[in-house]
Symmetry: C2
Subunit: 139 residues, 2 copies
Amino acid sequence: MRHALREAELAYQLGEIPIGAVVAFTATGQVIGRGHNQTEQLRDVTAHAEMLALTAAANHLGNKYLHDCTLYVTVEPCVMCAGAAAWAQVPRVVFGAPEEKFGYRRHGQLLHPRCELVTGVLADECAALMQRFFAERRK
Amino acid sequence: MRHALREAELAYQLGEIPIGAVVAFTATGQVIGRGHNQTEQLRDVTAHAEMLALTAAANHLGNKYLHDCTLYVTVEPCVMCAGAAAWAQVPRVVFGAPEEKFGYRRHGQLLHPRCELVTGVLADECAALMQRFFAERRK
């Protein structure tokens, strides 16, 4: 999750909503895909951190299925990203801060049926970065 | 929808699950983004027809919001693509064939709250292409 937070800080520095994600091998922790939110820079709603990390990991493996991997993301994924993780059959998703409004969980179980979910990892740091961003934007 | 079907036929010829999508200006019908399913070619689960068409349209406009547009897609979108259409605030989605298993609708209303949904347009042709693909793959 430290790697994902570093990605989120990158997004913050670029004026993007500060969310970061990495895909790593579950067994070794080796990071094989990274992404930070780039929706403003790319003017593309699909450029969420998770989407970019999932695509990068699939490119790294040459395989669209990420069976031996964990997706780490600083904030609860949205519906789009949960759907992408399900298609990639990611067996483990770890997120930091919950997201009441845009998180996928209020729409039910959208991850792969066999996916293990871990929540609240470095949640305070992940949430603090979001709060800082939105507090500054309101000024 | 004819344009979307042409995209689906392209996917079919490439050995992809034959789903196609276009984004067009609602007022004029001018197509500003196209996509056909490329998940196998690109080895990337995020390369659904709708995602590619939405990204292409945003690139065309230089705007991540597709406020004056309609998304046409041959088959009911999945959760991921419905989520992407919601983020792009697409105000009108038209699909052909329903998709019982992987369609977003069994998870509730995932499109933008103000999105108009039209279903069943050229549904038989859209469904027939899917059936042909899966029948051939079973052989």
